[in-house]
Symmetry: C2
Subunit: 206 residues, 2 copies
Amino acid sequence: MARTPFLTPSTIADAALRLGDREGGEAMTMRRIAGELGCDPMALYRHFPDRMALLDAVADLALTAVPSPDPALPWDERLRRVADDIRAAALAHPGIAGHVAARPPLAEQGQRIGAGVFAALGDAGLAPAEATRAAQALVATIAAGLAMAVRAGTRDARWHQVSDVLGGLPSAPPGGELHTVGSEEQFSYTVRLLVAGIRAEAAGSA
Amino acid sequence: MARTPFLTPSTIADAALRLGDREGGEAMTMRRIAGELGCDPMALYRHFPDRMALLDAVADLALTAVPSPDPALPWDERLRRVADDIRAAALAHPGIAGHVAARPPLAEQGQRIGAGVFAALGDAGLAPAEATRAAQALVATIAAGLAMAVRAGTRDARWHQVSDVLGGLPSAPPGGELHTVGSEEQFSYTVRLLVAGIRAEAAGSA
DNA sequence: ACCTGAACACCGTTCAAGT
DNA sequence: ACCTGAACACCGTTCAAGT
């Protein structure tokens, strides 16, 4: 009676995302996802080769909320916005955010967003080969910032020590000025640094 | 007879690192680390509160090979070198490299290296509060590049698709020019972009 | 003080059937 | 074609003893 009539990759990913939202990332086991759907754990293996592939699909699903970069905006604004949007979309689903950070999705949504990033870098004046490298750098940076946010937001107290460690060094600033590790401000700052580097690169090769 | 007389955090971390080097990261379970030492798995809990804390110690141990940045060098050269050195030290121990990337060590070695980074950023002309933010950005970038290298180097075929995906976009470069995801070149390029951004930031606030 | 051993409450995944 | 159920080979960790 607790069984759903259909089982598709999409209904499975939906159920897993829902479960992760409700009970956290560690709850997303094959057994408990199956429980959410009212089916046997093994039924999932008909639609995904293994657990990682299932989580990849959930991660991609979470990125549907990210708008495609608007070509009417300046390229640097587009890059900064897409970074913020990816961060926000991932953190809206804390259960899968860690997976998004650890394995940037390359499925449907990932490719859509990647194309927007690539176009923005082209408009920045980078040649295709440079744009590819810069896109990888940007993906890595977004992933890293997101990973920090995920851990800072959950129970990794170690991350609060980063500020303490740096703050304890000679000539450190008064504590109040520190940006929290994983904060939106710190994320935006890092992306801004990278975008400034891209601008310098584009100017250098122009 | 297969038992070691002493069990200390240091001998445990050594054994775990050795095991990881020999049999890979997944082999570093409490049970198998204990097997390497010839002791009961529960004996490890007398020296570490849980598995994560043990792996943190192993990760920090792997960073002993990273030289402290040489203050005689220009600040940007110092930053680029320490990034390369961290990457090399982590990849020299593939079993723990993923953990270094996922949880940048904050213990003894991490603090030593962090102090060197902070000093270099001060020499770049950044005020302490800015240097703290930039140091966090650099740590995030190194961690992200390292994470890419770890996955590209092991069995995550998905990562080779990144180039394919970007390469399949309109106006993509000829395939041969692409830097492999996770390569040393791509890592250095990303760090270089960030350092260029830091330089721009320092110039702007000078 | 330090280590052990059995047990608890789980995992992902394979395999042989079921309908 | 699609799903099930039992089983395999593991996990991290708690708890009550041992020496």
